[in-house]
Symmetry: C2
Subunit: 330 residues, 2 copies
């Protein structure tokens, strides 16, 4: 690998002169700079990012912590994050925690250890992870929360207004004549989304009955399938259901068909996330669509702003509104 020393030797100047030239500093003669730059180009010099990092300069590394990657929702987020970070010259180093709290702490520790310039945290279910984030803020490592689960006024975040989305969903179901509206999710997402469901119901003047709520330890389609089987068998069953996310809705649909009911005539379903395949299921899935791309873009921009202007202490709380996409399941 070609170093500053190599260029210096070739140019017959000192290392520091080369460094100055390549960093476009003012205190250098124009012609020396040009000479050095041409040699650097000729030798195909690339600065050693490791050495630069050790000097306390930026590593151009961003730590990204996500709870999972199996759901298309996070896939979309990661896809956009990677792209937006890359075009801005940053690389991402990603940890998938599988909702494991200790792993999340380890990941944040690792990020600190690798001297990342900033960290993007895409949701954690554990409130006390904020302690760790406070610690990082103390170390002047910018952190931006994506898809924060609750309003955290002291932290920079970009989130989706899921309660708004749920409210749209309930409203839409009411317009279709439903009043017994259930809710199905898995343990991972249930608690937060559940409270949003409750709020959405009351926003629409409906009372939520706890017997219409099913939370399963099984995730994705499996969880939806099992929960729906129970829900459909219960007394005075709901006529419609909102699910924590689309994959769950797919499992619900399977259970509904197996029980011999028609969708949406006998049972209506609304998902959350608008995953790609939602439009191509045998019944197109009505779902709440969050502006994922915009969220990712704003998160990256906010983080980079924080990185490049450390003196800017203003906290940004950004909440984006989802929309409802009506297809054939309602």
């Amino acid at each position: 690998l070609v170093t500053l020393k190599d260029i210096a030797k070739r140019a017959g100047v000192n290392i520091s002169t080369v460094s100055r030239a390549l960093n476009h500093r003012s205190d250098i003669a124009e012609e020396t700079r040009e000479m050095i730059e041409s040699i650097a180009k000729e030798l195909n010099y690339k600065p050693n990012l490791t050495a630069q990092a050790l000097m306390g300069k930026s590593t151009k590394l961003i730590g990204v912590l996500v709870p999972e990657i199996e759901s298309n929702y996070f896939v979309k987020i990661i896809n956009y994050l990677e792209e937006f970070l890359r075009v801005q010259g940053y690389s991402m180093i990603m940890t998938i925690s599988n909702f494991n709290y200790n792993l999340e702490l380890e990941a944040l520790e690792l990020f600190e250890n690798r001297n990342v310039d900033g960290i993007l945290v895409a949701c954690s279910l554990y409130d006390d992870i904020t302690k760790r984030i406070d610690y990082l803020k103390g170390k002047h490592i910018p952190v931006v929360l994506i898809e924060a689960l609750t309003h955290l006024p002291d932290y920079d975040y970009v989130m989706i207004d899921d309660t708004h989305g749920m409210t749209l969903a309930v409203k839409h179901l009411m317009e279709q004549g439903h009043t017994r509206i259930g809710f199905i999710s898995d343990n991972m997402n249930a608690d937060i989304r559940y409270s949003m469901y409750l709020k959405a119901m009351s926003n629409n003047g409906l009372k939520a009955d706890s017997k219409y709520v099913y939370k399963k330890p099984e995730r994705f389609e499996e969880g939806g399938y099992l929960a729906a089987k129970e829900m459909l068998a219960c007394e005075d069953r709901p006529t419609a259901v909102i699910t924590g996310y689309d994959s769950i809705a797919i499992g619900v649909m399977k259970a509904v068909w197996e029980a011999g009911y028609r969708i949406p005539e006998d049972f209506a379903i609304i998902g959350n996330d608008n995953i790609r395949e939602a439009a191509y299921l045998s019944k197109g899935l009505t779902t709440v669509s969050p502006p994922v791309q915009e969220m990712a873009k704003m998160a990256v921009n906010l983080l980079i702003e924080k990185i490049e202007n450390p003196e800017n202490k203003v906290i940004h709380n950004i909440k984006l509104k989802p929309e409802i996409i009506i297809r054939e399941t309602t």
Copy 2:
């Protein structure tokens, strides 16, 4: 951040002694080592990976290049890679190329620049990327190909024997009485998978008719949907189809229903990949299931073996056999 210096000061010894103690070297007194270790633990010392990297030691960074992340197939690969790398103490830095050749070259350059210990390349459609890989091998950076598209005897790779999978699929369809078996894929995957389809057909003593083959520029469900619409309308249409991957099959199913045909009585479908939702579609999708977890594990192990034993020059060509999972679409 706590450094060796801090520990040395606290312990009243020299930095180098601390370094020795923490690296479990032999030339140190047992009691000094214990003392230093306890101080290190107390101060929660973590070695500065950047400094270690600068010393020519490993960066514990692995570059991962994937073409896309929207398909559940690559998601699974990434998920496993991240996990296996993490438990072995490595972090991954990932670039998603979207099948963009220049981006792939840039990514490999970036990886080199970041002094990664090794690189995992999950398939590129462009053969001449091997030039770049040769270059990296010249720099003694181990590279392992995942899901190589063709047999490349000079490169370490772990791949799925897709031709075998296709052959299983054709065989299964023949057993169901099908002889007019079509093939649908998108432009990204068509060419390679197409040749496998041809081989699989002849393996089973069938001749492939080019009019039964549809390749669409649209990807995922959309591509399958559009292709199937055409295929179903053509003269003397196939009675069954194999798709490049499962998402395409989902789109195909939609088109079949819209055309008023029954699955599998009027039209049978086999996918590829066995994505999670395949089992929960309104008709469970028969599909070829690649051993993704095993592939990821072997790739990581192979790469780490190459990293830790640079003198080992043996090329590993590993080919794993997929199996067929029969559900309701056949």
